[in-house]
């Protein structure tokens, strides 16, 4: 009887403990456009605006994290003479937009900088994170938490990542670290669009991102459907004095001129709209909860953030506004010497894609594919097609801007103070660029879970380096910038082919 009483008490305490684990994101008291985790509040850290480098890191579990790591450790080796000093291309990265597996690498670099190259392989890449996640679910005190329907498996991932990887750091810490601006992308399940862990997004929820841990954002970004439950945020009632941006007033009027902008407006409005609560009579948000799943569902490359900055002048790091800084004068044909013109400016977009090429294993046999194969294809084919379309969209946008910048200057002599058109560079790094057939097939066959043998991790890191080394566009960029790169990739474990 006494033993039963002890067990009952233990159960009650564990149950009460579980009550406290249902997460509620912190309320924002007042919206402050000049503070919080935003691009313009980050210290530049000596990072020059004239060389604007954007890195996107795709999803794909440990294989994506390792490939991203290899690319970043290689960019760190690129020595760059810039504005009278020597720097590395990695130090010039201004924005990193990441999804799922790539978010581990991005967030770790954002918080700990060079520790990414010292302890990240041991702390994440070589680890069997998958087994740890499974073990933590079945640990009895954790299992008890699932009594609550609101409690999700993803909460255990949040704790694991915060405790063992990100050391409980928050977005306040990420802000304090300064540039690069790390954009961790999840997916808003209802809207089917990227949900970014940046304060401007959390302003619409009247929530304070600075007190949210990085582990939570990475867990949301990598909550692969099926393996992880969606992560839920509270969309707090509008008590923070949210001020709608100026373009909101114009968007309904522009619905036919700018349908994409109007859709962005509708999406934004969905976070803000309020309805009368029939029980209390007060106002509440129409979507009081926002459910998040893996960022790869909406955009597996993290490239949507770049597209938005290209097509949306209200973006906090509008690429169009950056290009406009060197817009030529509208009139006059006065001559000026080349020396009158200021130094060159360059926009560099590097896309790291750990996605698979299409496989043809099903086509080796006459048997029709089973239900699992068809469902897998149904889920992955649209994402792959969308990724390819996004790559082409960015490539075409940049090509069009280059053509227009050239037309803008055609037949004009530069005036004093005029600058040359900025250089726009796009570098895509994916497995389909691997020339060796055997290696490419091996890379494509690697699973996208959170455990890979050490030799595969090193192979991926080395591949990141070799993709850069073999990229014609990257070579052209280095030549333009006058940068130097030790191209043997031997600094990565496992050696390089040189």
């Amino acid at each position: 009887m006494r033993r039963l009483r002890v067990w009952c008490l233990a159960f009650v305490f564990a149950w009460l403990g579980a009550c406290s684990v249902v997460y509620e994101n912190p309320v924002l008291e007042a919206q402050q456009p000049e503070s919080g985790y935003r691009f313009r509040t980050l210290a530049a850290n000596g990072n020059s605006d004239e060389l604007f480098v954007v890195l996107t890191l795709s999803g794909g579990g440990t294989r994506a994290a390792a490939l991203s790591h290899g690319v970043m450790e290689t960019l760190r080796q690129v020595s760059l003479p810039w504005q009278g000093r020597h720097t590395s291309l990695l130090d010039e990265v201004d924005v990193i937009s990441s999804v799922s597996g790539g978010s581990f690498t991005a967030a770790y670099y954002g918080l700990f900088r060079d520790r990414l190259f010292r302890d990240f392989p041991q702390r994440m890449l070589y680890r069997d994170l998958q087994a740890e996640l499974v073990n933590t679910v079945f640990w009895p005190p954790h299992a008890l938490r699932f009594i609550y329907p609101e409690y999700r498996r993803t909460e255990l991932a949040v704790d694991l990542y915060d405790d063992t990887l990100f050391e409980g750091r928050t977005f306040a810490d990420l802000q304090a670290a300064g540039r690069p601006y790390i954009i961790l992308n999840a997916t808003d399940v209802s809207l089917g669009v990227p949900f970014r862990f940046i304060q401007s997004r959390f302003d619409t929820l009247c929530s304070d991102l600075s007190r949210i841990t990085i582990g939570r954002a990475v867990a949301a970004s990598s909550a692969f459907p099926g393996a992880f439950s969606p992560l839920t945020l509270r969309n707090h009632p509008d008590g923070c004095g949210y001020r709608r941006p100026g373009w909101f007033a114009l968007a309904p009027r522009n619905r036919e001129y700018d349908p994409a902008g109007y859709q962005r407006y509708l999406n934004e409005q969905s976070y803000l709209a309020q309805v009368r609560d029939p029980e209390t009579g007060g106002w509440r948000k129409r979507r009081p909860y926002i459910h998040l799943t893996d960022g790869g569902v909406a955009d597996n490359l993290g490239l949507r953030a770049v597209i938005d900055s290209l097509v949306d002048d209200a973006s906090e790091w509008s690429i169009n506004k950056w290009i406009n800084r060197t817009a030529p004068r509208a009139d006059g044909n006065a001559r000026s010497s080349r020396e009158d013109r200021k130094g060159s400016r360059h926009l560099v977009i590097i896309v790291v894609d750990a996605g698979r090429e299409r496989a043809f294993g099903l086509d080796r046999v006459p048997t029709a594919p089973g239900l699992t194969d068809v469902l897998t294809a149904s889920a992955s084919v649209p994402i792959d097609n969308y990724s390819r379309a996004n790559i082409e969209l960015v490539r075409e946008q940049l090509a069009q801007r280059l053509r227009n910048e050239s037309r803008l200057r055609r037949g004009r002599q530069p005036l004093p103070g005029d600058e040359r058109a900025p250089g726009l560079h796009f570098v895509y790094l994916g497995f389909n660029n691997v020339r060796d057939d055997g290696l490419r097939h091996r890379l494509n066959d690697l699973p996208t879970n959170f455990h890979l043998p050490r030799e595969d991790v090193d192979l991926l890191r080395r591949t990141g380096c070799e993709l850069l080394r073999d990229s014609v566009r990257f070579a052209a960029l280095l030549k333009t910038l006058g940068a130097k790169f030790e191209a043997d990739c031997r600094f990565i474990p496992g050696g390089g082919k040189g």
Partner: protein, 77 residues
């Protein structure tokens, strides 16, 4: 759809788009690119020593070679 505007003013100063005063669209007297067609509001930010205080204009079907031109004047000019 990219559109093109020139905001005329006697001196060089910042131009702001759609009341977003965090980052300027560009500078006056330059051929500026806008990322989307439609109605837009232009102003020159602080100090408001120019007239009109802002201009709301429909920007469509412009081209690099034929940008939409808008004029602001110093107050009292």
């Amino acid at each position: 759809m990219n559109e093109y505007v020139v905001i005329r003013y006697p001196t060089d100063r910042d131009v702001y788009l759609d009341r977003d005063h965090a980052v300027p669209l560009g500078r006056t007297n330059r051929i500026l690119t806008i990322s989307s067609s439609g109605w837009h509001i232009f102003d020159l930010g602080e100090p408001v020593d120019y007239t009109p205080e802002s201009r709301s204009v429909l920007i469509v079907n412009t081209d690099v070679d034929s940008p939409h031109e808008l004029q602001f004047e110093p107050k009292g000019a």
